[in-house]
Symmetry: C2
């Protein structure tokens, strides 16, 4: 029988908290075996208790941890961190630090959650900077792209660390035994990308990592699923993710307009409703909800602030998969190899 | 009566040259008034003459300039430049240098064309680096994104120069009198992008340019048409452009699969063929063919190497619009303002 996983949830984070938070727990509760999951719900008891009263399945899993304060979506991270102690977000992360919970989930303020997670959980051994990883629909299923916004500038060593963390994350959440890893770059022979990306490529080839590294991929390869894990800096990754979202929205808008352009296509469109539903389901952003903070001394999942119960349930599911996996021990091995290799290279340089 | 524009065309560049080159001229020839366009066609006479014999409209506009050599798609730019003199690409660009032609168009090797254009045409006064600009379908029509690959790293001054060049390009090709300009950045309060982008933003606000600068935009704003001109470095721009292409391809593939998923939706799909054709037309990459090299001492348009006659005609059309516009004088004014402002700031810093 699987052990009981404890998830620590910030019930006050996100645009429609705590309602969609409890909804999300309710959705998840219906899919898990009894005794395998427990949820610590941090937030204002007077708001949460009525919701639990209406959601029996969620209530069975939840232990309510009352606090009066929470971090607002509009707080600056620096401000949030000063007044965060004792807030629902702080308490949610702290339960991972103390070992009471296996993972924390919040739909709250991204910057505050990142700062607070770094302060409380510190970095995993041999990891230098956290990255945010996101899953992405592709022709083959899903890819993981990281970093999508935590680090606007990255060194080659950081990119290699992201590759290690992203690969382990892919195993944990998407179940592949040996996911392929690509480094995001631009173009052909003549435009070969920047120095950092080239140095990261050389490092990924020279360090003997346990990883299926495939070399460079380009922007259009992401949606085609050419690599399971796509590694890039947080600036490029954020722009790529949002550009893809915008393009999907544009295609949908154009499709809708085209279908309204003649009576025949309106009839055709009506007959295609089932097909369009399938299409929407495959590209549904809620399915891909859950940006995970990788590289910390504990698992923290950031749900989109504007998601609904289904989306939040998916973020919880990501956290559950992470907590059940051997993610931490897997990255430890590869990060150790990287650190040793860099030490040796450093010593050789010093000696020569 | 409008003056006669002379376009100088590399007839040997691209995957299916010279066939699609002549096809492209033929398409364009049918849309222009007599006496307003002349085309210099650089390439191998024995290959081009039979094509012109079959395309009378093109033949009427064209003057064939024979050369036996051409730059291969696979040549490295450094190699290409050494053996480029006298090639069809070299001669096409040189005709702009000598003033014989108003603009040059090639579907050949991007890196070679860029190097060769810089060598022959030099930079426009007060411009420091060329950028490649591409048009992009949006909800509102089209946006221009630059740089999409010429500069993997950029300073703030370069980004401001790109804004100036992109804005003038938008006027020339898409006809708006006062296009809005945005600077591509990431996210919310907490993740505000990198130093260069912030410095470029400050510069765009402080220099008194003749420009409707709107501030930061994000990846998803591009397809929504939030700004007419979107400015970024060549690495980010290239990734964004290709990611959008990949996402559009993914959406198309998902749509096709969904429509095949039931007999009802197959019937519906058949009725929607007209609507799907409209959708394809709106997102047709051939309509947006023609990456323009901006900032040089002459107009050079790079067509996609794999395009067809319709796509190449669109690249020719872009060159024609550029040649007919006041692009050069417009950027001259703004670049001069920028240079003066930077000089003054430099002097102030030196003096203080």
């Amino acid at each position: 029988m699987p052990r009981t996983i404890v998830l620590s949830v910030d019930a006050m984070g996100g645009d429609q908290a705590p309602d969609i938070i409890v909804d999300g727990v309710q959705y998840l509760a219906k899919t898990v075996e009894e005794g395998t999951l427990k949820v610590l719900l941090h937030g204002k008891a007077s708001l949460i208790e009525p919701l639990l009263a209406r959601n029996a399945a969620a209530a069975r899993l939840c232990e309510l941890r009352h606090t009066d304060t929470h971090v607002a979506m509009t707080d600056k991270p620096s401000h949030a961190i000063r007044k965060a102690r004792g807030s629902s977000m702080w308490n949610a992360v702290e339960a991972v630090k103390t070992g009471e919970a296996h993972a924390c989930i919040s739909a709250g303020n991204t910057g505050a959650l990142m700062v607070l997670s770094k302060v409380l959980l510190r970095m995993a051994r041999n990891a230098h900077r956290p990255a945010i990883a996101a899953s992405w629909p592709t022709l083959k299923g899903a890819s993981v792209v990281l970093d999508i916004g935590a680090n606007v500038e990255c060194t080659q060593t950081q990119l290699v660390e992201f590759a290690i963390m992203g690969e382990a994350f892919y195993r944990a959440v998407h179940g592949a035994r040996r996911p392929s890893v690509g480094l995001l770059n631009i173009g052909s022979e003549d435009l070969k990308g920047n120095d950092v990306v080239r140095a990261a490529d050389a490092l990924l080839r020279s360090v003997n990592l346990d990883m299926d590294y495939q070399g460079f991929v380009e922007g259009d390869d992401i949606s085609m699923g050419k690599a399971d894990v796509v590694v890039t800096d947080g600036f490029t990754g954020n722009v790529a993710l949002k550009t893809a979202e915008g393009t999907a929205r544009l295609a949908t808008a154009f499709l809708r307009q085209s279908l309204r352009s003649s009576p025949v296509s309106m009839v055709g469109g009506a007959l295609c409703q089932g097909a369009f539903r399938k299409l929407r389901a495959r590209m549904d952003p809620r399915k891909f909800n859950g940006g995970v903070f990788l590289g910390l001394g504990g698992v923290v999942v950031k749900s989109h602030g504007g998601t609904d119960g289904v989306g939040f349930a998916n973020a919880l599911k990501v956290a559950l998969n992470m907590a059940r996996s051997d993610y931490a021990s897997h990255i430890a091995v590869n990060l150790e190899k990287l650190a040793t290799s860099l030490d040796t290279a450093g010593n050789e340089r010093t000696a020569s």
